[in-house]
């Protein structure tokens, strides 16, 4: 059965985008080892609301199944906490012990401005996809699905890259705040499929340039992104992105 224990927290509180922020201390008793990290914060918020002295802590979440990509906590300096391949919502308190002190901060990057407390604005990711992260196909104009055979290994690898949930952990973990893993993953998904081939160059150049425009840094191969990615996406995506970008731009063709 579950143990019950006490956790100390230092949580980043910031009233708004242009307000100063600071770490505030809290103690949560009755933490149960089966709770997720976010459920532990829910319990803390219920305590804060009951006291009525300050506002509850704002943080983003939705599915709580590790798939929607909403949750985005920096837990003891690591995006999504200590467990590999895990979102904050799927991090369970059995990974902690009685009396532990945990620091909780938002994902920090110039391109992810803070909205309030632990909530940040990740709309830059949408704009990267907007710039070319799709196959241009109109509804109703598709040929029969089996008329485009795809080698199983190609489909499987494309799927591996397509699993990116857009949480932004890669950016938060990167010393340069680079979005290369996010952008590279979408390119590695679409660029290797026959359906994505016609727009390959155009897509690559547009997405890479949009990423720079958003204020994300460049990649210098720290590989911190791969280490924190909850979906285990390989940094090979970044190498592919660079190769495709070089090909597209050096070719001198109109893209």
């Amino acid at each position: 059965m579950a143990d019950t224990f006490t956790i100390h927290l230092k949580v980043w509180r910031q009233a708004g985008p242009n307000k100063p922020g600071k770490l505030v201390d809290y103690t949560v008793d009755n933490v149960n080892s089966h709770m997720s990290f976010l459920e532990m914060l829910d319990v803390l918020n219920e305590q804060i609301i009951a006291k009525g002295e300050e506002e509850p802590i704002e943080f983003d979440y939705d599915c709580r199944e590790g798939i929607c990509g909403s949750c985005n906590l920096m837990i003891n300096g690591r995006a999504h906490g200590p467990k590999a391949m895990t979102c904050s919502c799927q991090l369970h308190m059995r990974n902690y012990s009685d009396g532990d002190t945990i620091t909780v901060e938002p994902f920090r990057a110039k391109a992810f401005p803070v909205i309030k407390d632990l909530v940040v604005d990740r709309s830059a990711f949408d704009r990267i996809i907007e710039s070319g992260g799709y196959v241009s196909v109109k509804t109703g104009s598709a040929p029969d699905a089996n008329s485009i055979p795809v080698d199983k290994s190609v489909a499987d690898t494309a799927f591996d890259y397509a699993t990116c949930i857009g949480c932004g952990a890669c950016v938060a973990a990167c010393p340069n705040s680079s979005a290369s893993l996010f952008t590279g993953a979408k390119l590695a998904h679409l660029n290797r499929l026959p359906q994505g081939e016609p727009e390959r160059k155009k897509r690559t150049v547009a997405m890479v340039e949009q990423m720079e425009e958003e204020g994300f840094g460049d990649c210098s191969n720290y590989a911190e992104c791969e280490a924190v990615c909850p979906k285990g996406i390989s940094i090979s995506a970044i190498a592919e992105m660079r190769r495709d970008y070089m090909k597209a731009t050096f070719a001198g063709e109109e893209v």
Binding site: A2, E65, Q90, Y134, T139
Partner: protein
């Protein structure tokens, strides 16, 4: 309330093509003069917004999440059905239609369900063309698997993340149109009211969830694709932010709410572990392809499952339903899990769980093969429970998953308010009293890609929209109404948290409006919900400010709506004095616990018209008779 279903005449197979021939078109150069609002960016809303924008309309898209990509369709795991018959196992459009009608216990509209089966094949083509990485065979062609309620392999899948991949396909199509300025995207916006002018839906009122600003948006048509209301139960497989507010506010403006009591209880969820719990996690139904469901034959057997010998295990689904075995539909699997647990054979610390065992499949096919099929699901299970499903059986229990009820729509997916269209889980139309696995994704995309774009055009072509602006008094009234409720929530300044109210509502709903229901229990539930609602409006505490990001204020508005909807769900369940699909009335069941329908008296859609709330929820019942011209109504049997 006018419940004209507008089903075209003629043979079932020809109704949709006949309708397409008959509907009016908007010429390409006129489409740019029309604005359409789409609320929600899941499979239905995302695909509708993208397709309408491709056609040339100006689309305004709204979602409550920080990105359109996070709509809850993302969490659907198992797959999407289509009648492609690629596996050559005898599937046809008719068979997919028939399975869906039967699976829904003959409480859905024949014509809509047939169209769903017809369109299913186009959806797969569309998704593949977008680059959705479906599972493939070694020859490069698409792979299929089977799902509950079907005897053919017609389910297309992308590992255990089919919903995610299909949603990203729709999202990417949307973002392409955002780039072309054909979609104006509004994230972190919640729809709080519908604006009806001269009897037509002409706009919405939203709250900017970051600034708190109440805003007005005008259009020629509104497409509501805001999902289901399973979170009325507090614990469910729905995302935490899934809610009924957009649909409920439309209901309060006159849109009929149909079959609200039809809630799907999904058989394969990770059991509840404690009262801090915020939601339940679904394990894909596809696991039942290879997992065998059993409980110990002995009551209160506390041995480790691996120590229980074969002849002391009760494989209740395989024994009771030899033809379908572990692949019986969801309502049957859920109800039987409840029955064995009620009889004391349940397992785990709470006794409210059954085993889903992969031992035999691993022996037969090898760990590698099983891992390729279900690896991510197994990891997820281990992460949540701390147990390894390769080494011991999973523990599962039913949980609230999907709502088949929703706003009433006609064949055009238009509600009884002209100009208000409703797509995906938010409408009631295709699944009857129970939804078969892998058909939610199918319906969302069918509605969004292939029905809404045509039927909205048909509506627009026939209207004279006149000279209306956002200063119209109906906009003033709706904006004041939205603001008024927020002010009222803060004024209460009570002692009890929003979550606490929601949890108590959920417990009432689960106990009395859940897997099985009785007249007595439903009457008690109605009374308890009324009392709880009264207390809510006298004792809720909403923290923080309204002109700022405030999650608990969002919740407060949604829980207020659930407290009204909950009463309607119980009322609907009470009036329907029969068992149908997921709606099991204890008074109407066979000795084996099978649902006993009453086709003579209840073969209709129950559409409720809002009349006001004054201590109790006042609703008037309207009936749309269901006509079955092409299938024979039979008792469902999976034996």
């Amino acid at each position: 309330m006018n419940l004209d279903s507008k089903v075209p005449s003629g043979p079932l197979e020809d109704k949709w093509s006949k309708h397409l021939n008959d509907i009016q078109l908007v010429s390409p150069n006129n489409k740019r003069n029309h604005d359409i609002i789409v609320v929600g960016t899941g499979l239905a809303g995302g695909s509708a917004a993208a397709s309408l924008a491709e056609l040339g309309y100006n689309v305004k898209s709204f979602c409550i999440q920080d990105s359109a990509r996070r709509a809850h369709s993302i969490a659907a795991q198992g797959g999407i059905n289509a009648a492609k018959n690629y596996p050559n196992d005898g599937d046809t459009i008719w068979r997919l239609f028939y399975d869906t009608i039967k699976g829904g216990d003959y409480r859905s509209r024949e014509s809509n369900t047939y169209r769903l089966a017809q369109i299913s094949n186009e959806i797969i083509d569309q998704a593949v063309a977008q680059g959705v990485p479906f599972a493939r065979e070694y020859g490069g062609l698409l792979a299929n698997r089977s799902f509950g309620g079907a005897q053919v392999s017609r389910t297309f899948y992308a590992r255990g993340q089919t919903g995610q991949q299909l949603l990203l396909g729709a999202y990417q199509s949307m973002m392409r149109q955002v780039h072309k300025d054909k979609i104006e995207m509004h994230t972190r916006h919640e729809m709080l009211d519908l604006v009806v002018i001269d009897g037509k839906a002409r706009g919405i009122v939203t709250r900017d969830l970051v600034s708190g600003e109440i805003e007005r948006w005008m259009a020629d048509a509104v497409v509501l694709a805001s999902g289901g209301y399973g979170n009325a139960f507090y614990l469910s497989t729905n995302a935490k932010n899934s809610n009924v507010t957009a649909a409920w506010r439309c209901h309060k403006r006159g849109a009929g709410f149909a079959n609200p009591c039809y809630v799907q209880i999904h058989p394969t969820c990770i059991p509840v572990s404690g009262d801090y719990q915020s939601k339940l996690t679904l394990m894909s139904e596809s696991l039942r392809n290879d997992g065998r469901v059993w409980v110990p034959e002995e009551k209160d057997d506390d041995r480790h499952p691996n120590d229980i010998p074969e002849d002391e295990r009760y494989y209740y689904l395989e024994e009771k339903y030899p033809a379908f075995g572990n692949l019986v539909p969801r309502d049957v699997a859920s109800r039987n899990a409840k029955i064995v647990c009620d009889e004391g054979m349940g397992v785990g610390p709470t006794g409210r769980a059954v085993y889903l065992d992969f031992r035999d499949a691993i022996e037969r096919e090898g760990r590698q093969t099983i891992s390729e099929k279900y690896g991510n699901l197994f990891e997820m299970y281990e992460n949540i429970t701390g147990d390894n499903p390769y080494e011991e059986p999973m523990r599962i229990f039913p949980a609230v998953h999907y709502t088949m009820g929703g706003l009433w729509v006609d064949y055009n997916l238009q509600s009884n308010i002209p100009g208000l269209f409703v797509a995906g889980e938010a409408n009631f139309s295709d699944h009857g009293a129970n939804r078969l696995g892998a058909s939610a994704l199918m319906q969302g995309l069918s509605d969004g890609y292939f029905i809404i774009p045509y039927t909205v055009g048909n509506y627009i072509a026939q209207q004279d929209f006149g000279d209306v602006s956002k200063d119209h008094e109906a906009f003033d009234e709706a904006a004041a109404n939205a603001q008024g409720q927020i002010d009222k929530l803060f004024e209460v300044d009570g002692d009890r948290s929003v979550v606490d109210f929601h949890r108590e509502l959920g417990q009432i709903m689960w106990d009395k409006v859940g897997i099985s229901r009785s007249e007595e229990g439903l009457k008690e539930a109605i009374k308890q919900i009324q009392e709880l609602r009264e207390e809510f409006w006298n004792n809720v505490r909403v923290p923080g400010e309204q002109s700022n990001y405030n999650k608990y204020l969002e919740f407060a508005g949604r829980v207020a709506d659930f407290l009204e909807l909950g009463e309607l769900m119980a009322k609907d369940a009470l009036h329907r004095d029969e068992s149908a699909g997921c709606h099991l009335r204890e008074e109407h069941q066979s000795e084996e616990g099978e649902a006993l329908r009453n086709d003579e008296e209840y073969s209709y859609v129950a559409a409720w018209e809002f009349q006001g709330v004054n201590g109790e929820l006042n609703e008037e019942l309207h009936k749309e008779d269901l006509e079955f011209d092409f299938v024979e109504l039979k008792q469902r049997s999976y034996k």
